[in-house]
Symmetry: C2
Subunit: 363 residues, 2 copies
């Protein structure tokens, strides 16, 4: 029997330690077979959204719907709630692709772009008055950078007219985002929530709905699949437009419940502690250093290390860690050979982080 | 411990009898954690598409990609491969929604519509010469009707210029569709394939790709999520645009392999046999009759029965069957009280059909 490998990759990642058990319960209890128009499914939908509301402190006035992925939500937000002009904070591959989606939809997409590994000085953003949507990637998984929550709140204060939307992939449930300061947030489940991939969660408020309705009235063609009105009409009945990933929705609710028992505050404290352990080690290591220089822009959930020893590549480091049963990610894109990326999600225990630190020390 | 219930509902339905085992293997072997950019994922993608090619006899020149659902593919086909004019055969809720999607995308959508429970005389279709896409729902899950494969082939012969696309939800793997006579086919996995929902499969040929490219060159805005070029570019590397339902893709390949061992021919013979058992019984029953009058339009995979006894409703029949551990579906929409729908998929054994027949006899 092969040894257990722990995935500290930044998504997909190690499953939350209770996830497989919940999926097996779902399989044993026919949740793969029940109708998505049944009362049983409605109860699952209701349970999962209630647990998410508690975990992420989502106001009751905000709507929660399910999609195939977070990537899908980029398009849904743009197609449903914008007509012409968007503004993007771009500092890595995912924020860049969100921006590219807007361009492909023929929006006049503006951006503030800084290199991989850097955060934003938001006062440098030249956001046009007519901007309909400001798009923030709170945690840039490709580069290990984050936008501090205070910056998001400042954006809201300075641009109250625009919809402020937050890509929270790999930020959830850690990032303490204040929903009252934003209009929409979305994520996929295979990062911090620790589920197998194949499900996205999209949260939005009535300002988004009003914007959607105004655009429809003006005659804008909104693609009908997962269009906001259809999603809402179904969500009000605790249902979905098409047959959804029922087992994923069930498991998400149960994992969120498990996290709620542990409390999100404890999860946050542990996340900060584990991140500090690794960043501290990288600071004093002879072969590594933290990629992100500015502490306030360092992601707590995706830690990226530059390899500064000429004899080491990402491949050699990854191989050495794998010998100890620890799987980390390589750098993204052009950084793939000289960086490693380490996920720090709720499922990753302090013990596995101590072990990771021990092995890194010996390199 | 509660008794096992068998889901003979027309989707989601009883899982294929090996599906849960494959999912458990996937969970034990970290397929929920592996990167969707890894060699391991590429091998899964390749395995699954190879097994599907064998099962459905898909030519090597046809592309296979994965989506969130079959509903999503309605939009993808329309948005990627049409500009103005589509033609739809509508005889139930799903074919009608495909048509509505075209209208919502501002296509000039024409249709031949017949009532629920009726098939088409395709010679009555008045398909305009400029039609870009003919949309056929081979098996109308809501009504239990099918379009004979010969009719599909006739449509191709008479309208060789239009793209001919087939919604094969609840038809796969039974329907012996000749891919050389069509341009695209799609389905979701929670029907005949017997998997938990949350995955769609889209198959298309180079005529679709050429059409997509021509429209792009003309400046058509194609929504970027799951756009055909991005899907193709990734599929060539055995990858997907966004993090997909990896466990679903793996399980689909393993279930298809299991079906290939049994052979699709045996599955087809058994499907016809089981359907004949129930249709025969309905014909001679005093409380039921087959909803679909014309034998050639009777679906082999979704059998719809009219309840003709005034003392019976769908709810009472369903309750009586559930007492024997058999779950069937109620009628769709306005037929919900006076019809039952019975799925006849590869996972449903002859034994469970004998049992169903026995119980129906006693009513």
């Amino acid at each position: 029997m092969k040894n257990k490998r722990y995935y500290l990759t930044p998504g997909p990642s190690e499953l939350y330690f209770t996830a497989a058990e919940h999926m097996q319960y779902a399989l044993r209890n026919d949740l793969g077979s029940i109708s998505h128009r049944s009362k049983q499914f409605q109860e699952i939908f209701q349970f999962t959204t209630a647990q998410l509301r508690q975990l992420l402190n989502i106001p009751s006035s905000y709507h929660i719907v399910f999609t195939g992925s977070a990537t899908e939500v980029w398009q849904l937000l743009l197609a449903n709630c914008t007509e012409q002009s968007t503004y993007h904070f771009v500092n890595g591959s995912f924020s860049s692709r969100f921006y590219e989606f807007a361009k492909e939809l023929n929006r006049n997409a503006q951006k503030l772009e800084v290199p991989f590994g850097e955060g934003f000085d938001i006062s440098e953003a030249n956001i046009p008055a007519e901007t309909e949507m400001i798009c923030v990637t709170q945690n840039e998984t490709s580069a290990g950078t984050c936008m501090p929550v205070e910056d998001i709140n400042t954006l809201r204060k300075e641009h109250p007219e625009a919809l402020l939307v937050v890509d929270a992939v790999s930020a959830v449930p850690y990032a303490p985002i204040d929903f009252e300061q934003i209009d929409s947030l979305f994520f996929s489940v295979q990062k911090g929530m620790g589920l197998p991939a194949g499900l996205g969660v999209w949260i939005f408020n009535d300002r988004c709905v009003a914007r959607f309705k105004a655009l429809k009235e003006k005659g804008q063609v909104v693609p009908p699949y997962h269009a906001m009105d259809t999603m809402l009409k179904n969500a009000e009945k605790h249902m979905t437009q098409a047959t959804p990933n029922v087992i994923g929705i069930y498991t998400l609710g149960k994992v969120a419940e498990d996290m709620n028992r542990r409390t999100v505050e404890v999860i946050r404290q542990e996340t900060v502690f584990k991140a500090a352990t690794i960043y501290g080690l990288l600071e004093r290591h002879t072969k590594f250093k933290p990629f992100v220089r500015e502490e306030k822009h360092r992601s707590q959930t995706v830690i990226v290390a530059d390899i500064i020893d000429e004899d080491y590549t990402a491949a050699t480091v990854i191989e050495k860690l794998e010998a100890h049963g620890i799987v980390v990610g390589k750098g993204y894109g052009e950084f793939k050979d000289k960086q490693i990326r380490i996920a720090n999600f709720p499922t990753h225990s302090k013990e596995i982080f101590y072990q990771l630190a021990d092995v890194l020390e010996t390199l």
